[in-house]
C-alpha cells in the first residue's frame, strides 16, 4: 500500500507573467501522481505577480495550493532558488518536486540533492509511482539508449523534458493562495548576478519545448528565409546547426546539439543539415525526423524517417505551397 505524498511544482514563467508551456505538463503529471494529496504550485515572485487568469489556469490543471514564493535574494540565482524551494518543500511536506528541465532548474536540483539528500533524475520522459517509488524513463547517450530509473531516497526531485505529457484539465477548485517569503543564507548570496538580459520572444514557439522544429544547416548557405517560412506554415520553432550559428547566420541560442539546446519535438525537419554527431546528440530523440539534403551520404539520412535527397531551394518552396493548399 502506498500513500501518495503532496507534490510541489515550480511555475516557471515569462517576464510578462505567462506560464512556460512545459509547466502545464508538469501540473498535469503532478495531479496524477499526487492522488488525493495536495498539489502545491510555487510561483517565483521575481517582481511579477501571478494574474487571476494564471491562477485559474493553474487550478484547472489541478493545483490545490498556490505559493507566491519570494526571497531576500535574486531567485534567478540557483543557490537562492534552491534554498527557497527547500523551505517550501519543508512547509508543504512534499515528497516530489517537479521542475521543467532547464539549466537553472538542474542547478537548483543539484544543490537540493546535496542539502536535502533527495534523489534527482534529470530530463525524464515519463514518471510514475511503482510500489511506492518514483520511476522515470529517460534516454541517455544523446537519445540512443532508453533507461528506467527509480528514486530510492524519501524525497524525489525530477526535471521533466518538454513534450512528455499530454496536458489535461479538470473542473477547477479555488486554490489556496499564500505568500511564502524565505530569508536565504549569506552563502546563497555569494554569487552576484551582474547582468541578466532576457531574449525577446520571437513570436514562434520556444525552441526547447516546441512540438515542431525546423532546423537549418550548412546547406542553407546562410539563407534562413525558407526555413522560417516552413516553420511558420507548420507552427514550428526555428533551430540551427553549430555551423550555422558559428557562421553568424542565426543567433547562438538557436543551436541544437549536445552543447546547445537539446530537443525532442514530435516532428523535426532538418533543412540542409548533414547530421554531424554533435547535432544528432541534440535531436535524435525526436518523434519523427524529416531531412532534406543534396548529399545522399549525409549521416542525417541514417536516422531520418522521411528523407529527401534533393535541392532544398526547389523542394522547400514546393512543400510549403502544397502544405498551404492541403491545410487550406
Amino acid at each position: 500500500m502506498t500513500v501518495a505524498a503532496p507534490v510541489l511544482v515550480l511555475l516557471d514563467h515569462t517576464e510578462t507573467g505567462a506560464l512556460r508551456a512545459p509547466v502545464r505538463e508538469l501540473l498535469t503529471l503532478a495531479r496524477g501522481l499526487a492522488g488525493s494529496a495536495p498539489v502545491h504550485a510555487a510561483w517565483p515572485l521575481d517582481g511579477i505577480e501571478p494574474s487571476a487568469s494564471v491562477i485559474d489556469d493553474v487550478a484547472s490543471l489541478g493545483a490545490t495550493h498556490m505559493h507566491r514564493l519570494s526571497a531576500d535574494g535574486d531567485l534567478h540565482l540557483s543557490a537562492v532558488l534552491a534554498e527557497a524551494l527547500a523551505s517550501l518543500l519543508d512547509a508543504t511536506g512534499a515528497g516530489l518536486l517537479l521542475l521543467e528541465s532547464s539549466f537553472e532548474n538542474k542547478e537548483a536540483a543539484a544543490r537540493l540533492a546535496v542539502s536535502t539528500g533527495a534523489g534527482v533524475i534529470t530530463d525524464a520522459d515519463t514518471l510514475s509511482l511503482v510500489d511506492g517509488r518514483f520511476v522515470a524513463a529517460k534516454t541517455v547517450f544523446a537519445g540512443t539508449w532508453n533507461t528506467t530509473c527509480a528514486i530510492t531516497a524519501p524525497l524525489a526531485i525530477v526535471t521533466v523534458k518538454p513534450n512528455s505529457v499530454v496536458v489535461s484539465t479538470i473542473a477547477p477548485t479555488t486554490p489556496v493562495v499564500t505568500d511564502h517569503a524565505v530569508a536565504v543564507s549569506e552563502k546563497a548570496r555569494r554569487v552576484t548576478l551582474v547582468e541578466r538580459v532576457v531574449r525577446p520572444e520571437s513570436g514562434r514557439p520556444d525552441l526547447g519545448s516546441a512540438a515542431v522544429v525546423v532546423a537549418g544547416g550548412r546547406g542553407t548557405e546562410g539563407d534562413f528565409s525558407l526555413v522560417e517560412e516552413l516553420a511558420d506554415v507548420i507552427g514550428g520553432a526555428v533551430g540551427a546547426t553549430r555551423v550555422a550559428t558559428d557562421e553568424g547566420w542565426i543567433g547562438h541560442d538557436a543551436q541544437i546539439g549536445q552543447t546547445g539546446v537539446t530537443i525532442a519535438p514530435k516532428l523535426y525537419v532538418g533543412v540542409g543539415v548533414s547530421g554531424a554527431v554533435h547535432h544528432r546528440g541534440g535531436m535524435q530523440a525526436s518523434g519523427t525526423i524529416v531531412a532534406i539534403n543534396s548529399d545522399p551520404d549525409a549521416p542525417i539520412f541514417e536516422i531520418a524517417d522521411f528523407g529527401v535527397v534533393g535541392d532544398l531551394f526547389t523542394v522547400l518552396p514546393q512543400a510549403v505551397a502544397e502544405l498551404r493548399r492541403l491545410k487550406g
Binding site: 544543490r111 533507461t147 552543447t259 531520418a304
Partner: protein, 260 residues
C-alpha cells in the same frame, strides 16, 4: 593560482548487463567537453601564474584523461581509483571529486575548480553545481566567457541560458564549468607529450580521501537504474530522390501522418 580541471569521466557510450556505464572501452578518450575545461585552466595560468592539476575519477583507463591533461600543459595529475566508486550516481561522483579537491587544497590552496559543462555519458549536468555545494564554494556554471581578476581575486562568467544571458561574478575560491563556446582547445605538441611521460600520475583511493565507501557507489546512490536498452532502430523509413515532386510528397507525408 592553482586550477583543477575535472574531467568527469571519459565517455564510453554503452550500458552493460549490470546497467552501469561500460567504461573499459580501451580508446580512453577524454570527454571532449573537458578539453574546453583544460584549455581554460591552462590559458589562465599562462596569463597569470600558478599551476594546473588535472583530476579525474574512474576505472584504470580514466588515467588516460589526466595524462592528456599533462600533455596539454597541466603540472600535476591525480586519478581517484577505487572499486567502491563503481555504480555511483552523480551526487556520489561529486562527493568523491569534492573530497579529492579538499585533499589537494590542504596541500596547496585551490583557487578555482574548472569542469566541463556535462559528461557526454550517462552522468548528468548536476555534477559541477553539486561539487561546488559540497565544497561550499560559489558555482558559476556554463561559462561561454570566463575572466579571472587575479588582483581582486574574483571570477566573472557570461552564460547563455534558454531564455536569457547572464553575467555572474563571485570571489575566489570558486567553481566554474565551461561550455564549448568558451575557447578552442589546443592539441598536445610533441614536446608536451614527451614532457608528460616524465610526470607520474598520483593515484588516490577513497581511504586516502577519508570518504566513507558506503556513501558512494551503488550503496550510496539515491537512484537505481532498473532497465537499460539501446533504442530500437527506426522502422519504415523512407528515402526518396527528388525527381520533381519531392516537395509535394513531403507535404503529403506530413499531413497523412498527422504531423502538422
Amino acid at each position: 593560482m592553482c586550477v583543477k580541471h575535472v574531467p568527469d569521466i571519459q565517455s564510453e557510450r554503452a550500458l552493460g548487463p549490470d546497467r552501469r556505464v561500460v567504461r573499459d572501452g580501451g580508446d580512453g578518450t577524454i570527454n571532449e567537453l573537458d578539453e574546453n575545461a583544460l584549455e581554460a585552466a591552462i590559458a589562465l595560468v599562462e596569463a597569470s601564474e600558478g599551476s594546473v592539476v588535472a583530476l579525474t575519477v574512474g576505472p584504470a583507463d580514466a588515467a588516460d584523461a589526466v595524462r592528456r591533461g599533462l600533455q596539454l600543459g597541466a603540472q600535476e595529475a591525480v586519478h581517484v581509483l577505487d572499486d567502491a566508486i563503481g555504480g555511483s550516481d552523480a551526487i556520489g561522483t561529486a562527493r568523491v571529486l569534492a573530497a579529492a579537491i579538499k585533499h589537494l587544497d590542504a596541500q596547496e590552496p585551490v583557487d578555482l575548480v574548472i569542469t566541463g559543462m556535462a559528461g557526454l555519458d550517462a552522468l548528468t549536468s548536476l555534477l559541477p553545481t553539486a561539487i561546488a555545494e559540497l565544497l561550499d564554494v560559489p558555482a558559476l556554471p556554463l561559462a561561454a566567457e570566463l575572466t579571472v581578476d587575479a588582483d581582486a581575486r574574483t571570477v566573472r562568467v557570461r552564460r547563455n541560458l534558454d531564455h536569457a544571458s547572464e553575467v555572474l561574478e563571485a570571489a575566489l575560491p570558486a567553481l566554474v564549468s565551461v561550455t564549448d563556446q568558451a575557447n578552442e582547445p589546443r592539441y598536445p605538441g610533441f614536446k608536451g607529450i614527451m614532457a608528460a611521460r616524465k610526470i607520474p600520475i598520483t593515484t588516490l583511493t577513497l581511504a586516502d580521501l577519508g570518504v566513507d565507501a558506503s556513501r558512494v557507489g551503488a550503496p550510496g546512490a539515491r537512484t537505481e537504474v532498473l532497465e537499460a536498452a539501446a533504442r530500437p532502430a527506426r522502422e519504415n523509413r523512407v528515402l526518396i530522390n527528388d525527381t520533381g515532386d519531392a516537395g509535394t510528397r513531403l507535404a503529403a507525408y506530413l499531413v497523412d501522418n498527422k504531423l502538422v
